[in-house]
Amino acid sequence: MSIKVRIPTQLRTLTAGVGEVSVEGSTVGEALKALDVAHAGFAERIFDDGGGLRRFVNVFLADEDVRFLDGLATPVADGQTLSIVPAVAGG
């Protein structure tokens, strides 16, 4: 399944400046791992030592925080958009 992933400024050095890339995967976790395969370096930036999302990384599936869904195990459908967004904002 083809998933669009929106990339924040801080990570665009890994995608040659591109703000949106497409990857394959059937869950949020699979899609993010595929992102690391296509553009080496993503995993160490967004995952902590335990393999979970870093404390200050938010991931949204179709604009919903995946922590309100099933986290990295959340299934994704063809054509959906994932956004990686720095968590430190607002207030």
Binding site: R6, I7, P8, T9, Q10, R12, G19, R45, R54, R55, F56, V57, N58, F60, D63, D65, R67, F68, S83, V85, P86, A87, V88, A89, G90, G91
Partner: protein
């Protein structure tokens, strides 16, 4: 010249120059402004501060930007009011209210925005933007107008009417988003990647912006005669203000402005309908679980608080506490403060006062402590919260008889001839 030595990631410690950065490129941790405290200590003095303007800019030596003509509407140096009548109701001893309703647009946000836009202008930004629960929107729109900058303010569509009017009147663009504040915040965080020339004060300028809240601690210290209080009660939205109040007291000591080392207990106040920090505190965990807010305290309705973890840490390491109060208690808190001290606070102030009352009843805030409660926004912004709770005592015909009937025997009759003095 300012005394900023650079930026440092709070998580991994990586150092960055003082540019338009807000999170660590590596781990996404928040960047914190660092200062050359020895140089500040050699320059800053009580006399130098006293000779400064009666605004936040009297503490410019500990702010992240220096400008002879800052973006300024007069934020800060708000009254610190001794609240004996409220203290008596709550069984407390020495209680003070930091009355930030007195700021130019009626909330503490003027402190952070004055700093943020002064820095943004220095960094070359032409457009001021933000994600806001209302108070920040008011302040960004007003300060941008003052500075001759364009503004784009994003708010949840269902904010209180006064907050929308108070934002729109300044002539900038106001975008009402069909979603919660957390949705607006996510949208703005994504927009900063697409609009890198816009200064989103609480996103890509947040590192500098947040420093403005330290002035609350600076003022409290100065207004108490260069002494720190024993206990401060602070409302929590994102948690930024609370962490910066803690930093402010530490800095006062570090640069030699206090006679005694401060040991300030810091307690947090949340609304029960949005209490991720209070919940984590009660459960004794480090993990802040995001929530979907449902409370009348819209200015604190941030379900995913960016500085929640740091606020929790500041509370625990200071020996403070954190509690939440229901919407009914928020309204009671607003009325209690108004009735006892003549200060009309918005819902966030109701959260602070109701939480103070709760912590006092629990013996957490003690009668032997010098206590300061931060009241951070004006009640006229959230009059909806009081509809049905307060109103006219009576509605009458314009006659003396009707007046006497309405007030019954609670007062002396107004038209008693004997009460008139002879000519």
């Amino acid at each position: 010249m300012d005394f900023v030595s650079g930026l440092r990631c709070r998580e991994c410690g990586r150092a960055y120059p003082a540019e338009a950065l807000h999170v660590c490129d590596f781990c996404f941790g928040p960047l914190e402004v660092t200062y050359d405290y020895e140089a500040v200590a050699a320059t800053m003095s009580r006399e130098r501060i006293a000779a400064g303007p009666r605004t936040i800019w009297r503490y410019a030596d500990l702010l992240p930007v220096r400008d002879t003509s800052p973006v300024d509407l007069g934020a800060g140096f708000t009254p610190l009011i001794r609240a004996d009548r409220l203290a008596a109701e709550l069984g407390l001893g020495e209680l003070w209210i930091k009355d930030d309703t007195a700021n130019p647009t009626g909330s503490f946000k003027d402190r952070v925005v004055s700093v943020a836009l002064t820095k943004a202008r220095q960094l070359g930004f032409k457009i001021a933007a933000c994600a806001s629960t209302g108070n920040l929107a008011n302040s960004v729109a007003a300060h941008a107008a003052r500075a001759g900058m364009e503004s784009v303010v994003l708010i949840p569509y269902d904010l209180e009417a006064a907050k929308i009017t108070m934002t729109s009147v300044y002539g900038g663009r106001v975008i009402a988003v069909e979603g919660s504040y957390d949705d607006v915040n996510r949208l703005c965080a994504e927009l900063t990647s697409e609009q890198p020339t816009w200064a989103f004060v609480n996103v890509n300028v947040r590192t500098y912006y947040a420093e403005g809240s330290k002035t609350l601690a600076f003022e409290v210290g100065e207004q108490l005669g260069w002494q720190a209080p024993d206990h401060v009660v602070v409302p929590i939205g994102s948690g930024s203000q609370l962490t910066k109040v803690a930093k402010g007291f530490e800095e006062l000591w570090k640069v030699g402005l206090l006679d005694e080392e401060p040991h300030v207990r810091i307690s947090g106040a949340q609304a029960a309908g949005c209490s991720p920090v209070a919940t984590a505190f009660a459960e004794g965990t480090d993990a802040i679980r995001p929530v979907k807010p449902d409370t009348i305290a819209k200015s604190l309705a941030i379900g995913n608080p960016a500085d929640g973890w740091y606020a929790l840490d500041a509370i625990r390491s200071s020996g403070g506490s954190c509690a939440s109060v229901t919407d009914d208690e928020v309204v009671e808190g607003i009325e209690l403060l108004a009735r006892t001290e003549g200060i009309f606070a918005e819902t966030a102030g109701g959260v602070t006062i109701a939480t103070l009352a709760k912590l006092a009843a629990q013996g957490v805030v003690r009668s032997d402590e010098r206590v300061v409660a931060l009241v951070t926004g004006h009640g006229l912004k959230t009059v909806e919260a009081l509809s049905g709770s307060v109103g006219p005592t009576a509605t009458i015909a314009p006659t003396l008889e009707a007046f006497d009937r309405a007030l019954g025997d609670t007062y002396e009759p107004a038209h008693q001839p004997a009460a008139r003095s002879p000519r």
